[in-house]
Every structure is written in C-alpha cells, then in structure tokens.
Symmetry: C2
DNA sequence: CTATATTTGCAATAAGGTTGCAAGTATTAA
DNA sequence: TTAATACTTGCAACCTTATTGCAAATATAG
C-alpha cells in the first residue's frame, strides 16, 4: 500500500485530497516547511484555513512537529522517529542555512544531553544550528 | 553611575523614559520577556509601537536577543555575555518550564558542540530545554 | 537656551492566524 | 451500491500581532 495512505489510515484520518497532497509535500521534502511553502506548492488549491487545520491535525496525530526558530516563523517537519499521538520524539538537530534559508532535519545528529542546574528536570530538548548547508558550500 | 544609564550611554542611545523602563524590566527579570509582558508591566504607559521599536533598537545594539521557541511567540532576554552591535554571543541554553511557562536563561549551561554531516559549516547554535524548573518542582 | 537630531504617539495598514457555519466529501453499515 | 452519518472543507468575518508614515514632542550638543 502507498506510504501516504498508510500514514493517514494508521492515524485514523479520513483520506482527502488536501491531506494527501500536504503529506506528500512533507514526504518529498528533506527539510522543514512553513505554511507559506505549502500554499505555494499547492498553487493555492486549498483554502488557507484548510492548510492550517491540516497542519494542526498532523501535529496532534504526531505526524509532523514544530521546529523552533529564532524569528517568529512556524516551521513543520515530518516526525521520522517513533512519534505517537500527543507524544513526539523529535530529538534530532535542525539546521538552518544562512544562505538559502532552508531548514533541514539532521536525522543522524542527536541532540546532546546537558547538565542542568539543581532543581531543573528536563523533559525534552531542541537544538537548532545555523550555518552553511552542504548545497550552498 | 546607574547601570541602566551606563548601558544606554555605552550604546549611544538617547535616554528616554521608555528605554529606561523597558531596560529596567529586563535587568530585573531572571528570564525572558515577550512584548505582551512588557506592556503589562508598564501599565501601557508607552505606545505599543514604542515598545516594538525599543525592543528592535535593543536587539540591533546587542543589548537583548531573541530566544527560539517552538510556538510562534517572540521572546527577548538580556545579553549577559559580551554582545556587541550586530554580533550576539548568546550561547547559553534556554529553559522553558512546562508548568509555569516561564523561559529562563541558563547562563552557566553552554550549548554543546555537535558533529555535523560533511559539508555543513556551523555559525551559531541554539538549544532549548523544556521541563520543570526549580521553582515548580 | 537654542538648534538639531532623535524619539514618540497616533492612525492606518499589513500579515498571520482563528472561529462559526453551511455545503460538500469520505466513511460506515446495510 | 446506496443511504445515513460523521467528518472535512471553504467562505466570510474576525482577532491578534506587527509595521509604516508622519507630525508633534523630547533629548542632546553646542
């Protein structure tokens, strides 16, 4: 069966044109996508609201996750690790290229542990590295 | 001389009531502040626009820095390291409490280095840890 | 104290995101 | 295959957050 349908079915989501198309974009993207990227790549075939709601649904189901940024943009990327509904395991480093602006998931680079001050209990850590990516070198 | 005035003068900024008040808030805050926090703590004595412009000026001068978040909020915190105009050295870890929601600068916890894939050149790294802070334990 | 440069506040505008609701589509069960 | 049900979509309106131009007000330098 198609990976696309598989993912949607596994998460008990009805299969609709919008969800298929948006999920496909994520499966074919090496990096992160912003809402604007999705609108652009779908030729605005779907309403803004639908895109927002689809993204939110995917986050809720653990299919995609938010990526932290220093500006106020919201980026999403596929959860390639074992994410479940309401429980994300997104512990790889994200890379943002200073030149092309792309955000790339470094699947093989794990977020290192850090020693916190007394009294602090960690539950989750995110790491974003900026610099020049392989393509722009 | 007052630390406040000292910082403003050093950065060649005119000393105004708004800048003094906003900078004071940062000096007295252990963590990060959002635009909304500042409006609240100044009783809206200053126009929203003034607050935005003051924050931008402080960022430009290297007095405060943006903090990465996973949602789309913008947070600012004092640069306690040696930041200069146009050149921030904000390499400590930030902690966001799952309980009280506060963002705290862990001045003493340095962002660790990570080994990147071939072709990637890092320029800057950010790290955000979530969990329970000392006060909420 | 005056002249100049900078900063502020207002109004208008833009960008980004959300909500209610009716119409449309997917799914389920017969 | 079809009908009933549940879910999803698109529209319109709205809200929050952020930005810009400009005139009035304030700070600084001389």
């Amino acid at each position: 069966m198609d990976e696309l349908l598989d993912i949607l079915k596994k998460n008990q989501l009805s299969v609709t044109a919008g969800r298929k198309k948006i999920l496909e974009l994520f499966l074919n993207s090496p990096g992160a996508l912003a809402h604007a990227d999705i609108e652009k790549n779908t030729d605005a075939a779907f309403d803004r609201v639908t895109v927002y709601r689809t993204l939110q649904t995917f986050v809720d189901k653990g299919i995609i996750h938010h990526i932290p940024t220093t500006d106020n943009s919201i980026l999403y990327a596929l959860c390639r690790d074992n994410c479940e509904q309401g429980h994300h395991h997104d512990n790889h480093v994200h890379f943002i290229c200073d030149n092309c602006g792309k955000t790339i998931c470094l699947e093989d680079v794990t977020v290192p542990e850090v020693k916190l001050p007394n009294g602090f209990t960690p539950s989750h850590a995110e790491m974003v590295v900026k610099g020049i990516c392989g393509d722009c070198r």
